[in-house]
Symmetry: C2
Subunit: 166 residues, 2 copies
DNA sequence: AAATAATTCTTTAAGCTTCAAGTAAATTGG
DNA sequence: CCAATTTACTTGAAGCTTAAAGAATTATTT
């Protein structure tokens, strides 16, 4: 804390350049990888990344999940999921029904076709990812996992704090 | 390398689960932070993230840059930049003119208004970012920078290789 | 010089995404 | 039980994004 001549706290512009550079690098990495995955998905399977991501969520559960669940897990808006699911139902990859116990709720799951196609895509997708991270040693991977977990926690905390003081 | 009974190399499904988990965590971090920054930019300044990002590129140069430059730096498509710039010119934040030496080229730069508003936003933005990364020690930041640089290089290499063998 | 190729940017169509407002159903609290 | 609130989802408008095709200009090759 710095005090001026009248012993009053003053705001000096602190240096947050390192964090800013870190954020930009993080963003660059993600954009780069995302673009690579997107273009390969399109070329190899003629599928968009959001469709793939949604199917990936559904592949993890056998009995389907609600639209809200998908929305939270994918970290996108409800309206977004509505449209995405609409198109996946249209193309026969996803099955949708109203919950028996709560008529507000829509339960969606992969169809047989959807699951088969996703599995096929996921296999290649996994090798692409390992290719993309090929220069990292197992130790690098562990360390990165650790630091990103810490980053995630920090970001979540900052988000909650900001939400409480609007 | 695993050889089968006929001494022929066979492809066994290798485990790339760690890299996949790493990618998902990287994506989660970026999505989380991006969402936080997006919502704060909207609430505080009623500006979108893409507009802010474009202005950030232009703020770095005094004499403007071409649309292609912006496109490469932001890692988005040309058409995307065209529309973004269109709206920023419309709102008076960006100035656009045709290059004197090459009539294909559009040179854009921040207007006085655009630069003033960006500087104002950037200052707060920087503190948000430092807040978001607040749990990371300086050592964490350095280490993360290093590992992400390595990741970026690895991803670029993978992308180039894939582009050559289509 | 003329033909060819490469570049810079724009346009279009389709899909993605958010936000805000709206509808319907379930839950809560009197 | 009923009013008020909350939850789950949908809709609509605006903007973002990409990919692909096209137009204009410049650079290269023959």
């Amino acid at each position: 804390m710095i005090l001026d001549s009248e012993t009053k706290a003053v705001e000096l512009p602190e240096d947050h350049g390192d964090e800013l550079r870190l954020w930009l690098r993080l963003l660059t990495c993600t954009t780069l990888i995302e673009g690579e995955v997107r273009s390969r998905l399109r070329e190899r399977f003629d599928v968009t990344l959001p469709r793939f991501d949604l199917m990936a969520q559904l592949d993890k559960v056998p009995d389907g999940m609600t639209l809200s669940d998908v929305s939270k897990r994918m970290m996108v808006s409800n309206g977004n999921v509505t449209g995405l699911v609409e198109r996946l139902v249209e193309s026969g990859h996803v099955d949708r029904r109203t919950s028996d116990t709560d008529r507000r709720v829509q339960v969606i799951r992969l169809t047989k076709l959807g699951r088969a196609e996703f599995r096929r895509m996921a296999e290649e997708h996994e090798t692409w990812i390992s290719e993309i991270f090929t220069d990292l040693t197992p130790k690098d991977v562990r360390e990165l996992m650790r630091l990103l977990a810490k980053t995630k926690g920090s970001a979540q905390k900052a988000g909650q704090k900001a939400a409480k003081v609007p």
